[in-house]
Symmetry: C3
Subunit: 105 residues, 3 copies
């Protein structure tokens, strides 16, 4: 198993709700929600500015496909950001903890 | 093309302005600005403490050299932080959206 | 040397103190502390919700083992999050600055 950090943006105030659903479904071991980040982005030919929540999840690479499908189902955006970066090293007991918490029941 | 997450720190209150210039120049598809993070860092032999904005950009690896040059031109710091980490997997429509938004005109 | 971004979570209000100890020990060049993130996580069979500080450190891969040991000694959690992701590209002067600031005395 290999641990990954996943970034998801959500509408302001919705981050904890979405993170909670993901954690309860055992698709991630933990989530940190940074509320009220200022977002600037291209959307349909215009630069948009918004406040969002940024969710930082920790899970394993082997559950990413399921996590992506799950987020598509529960997220209000047409094309939500769900992107994963690989952990190259970490505190071993923590990495094992992440793996155990997302092991399929 | 491969999507990357780029971290840039900026003086407190300047994050949105710098992020806006980067997005408008099509060097990134979106930016999340976390304002007022507490920074601790070595600078010229002393530990300094400051408040900064942390910018989290999403772009593609192929545009990083241009992005780095651009930030050097517009950023007030002598040696600004511009560091990129690789996305190993993500929601496919989102990855395609990032690539399309930073495609050279 | 290769630069990495390290994520560490800490009890709310403790992030700056822990980051300061790490920086002063030259195990990282800089730290950004995001205070009061909302955390959701599994702990001993229950979903817990808490406020934490999220520390984002920049250091080199060669010092990670020492950093992990150091965090285990100074951190109040039984199993603290210490996870590193690899920087694939960045502003060259900044990468050199990180390497120089964590070079062993």
């Amino acid at each position: 198993m290999s641990v990954v950090v996943v970034f998801i943006t959500a509408p302001k105030g919705k981050g904890e709700e979405i993170a909670g659903k993901i954690i309860e479904s055992r698709l991630a071991a933990c989530a940190n929600v940074i509320s009220g980040v200022k977002s600037v982005y291209w959307w349909k030919g215009k630069v948009e500015r918004d406040e969002e929540d940024l969710i930082v999840l920790k899970t394993v690479e082997e559950r990413l496909d399921e996590l992506i499908e799950f987020v598509k189902r529960v997220h209000p955006y047409e094309v939500p950001e769900v992107i994963a970066v690989k952990v190259v090293k970490g505190l071993q007991e923590y990495l094992v903890w992440v793996e155990n918490e997302v092991r399929e029941a």
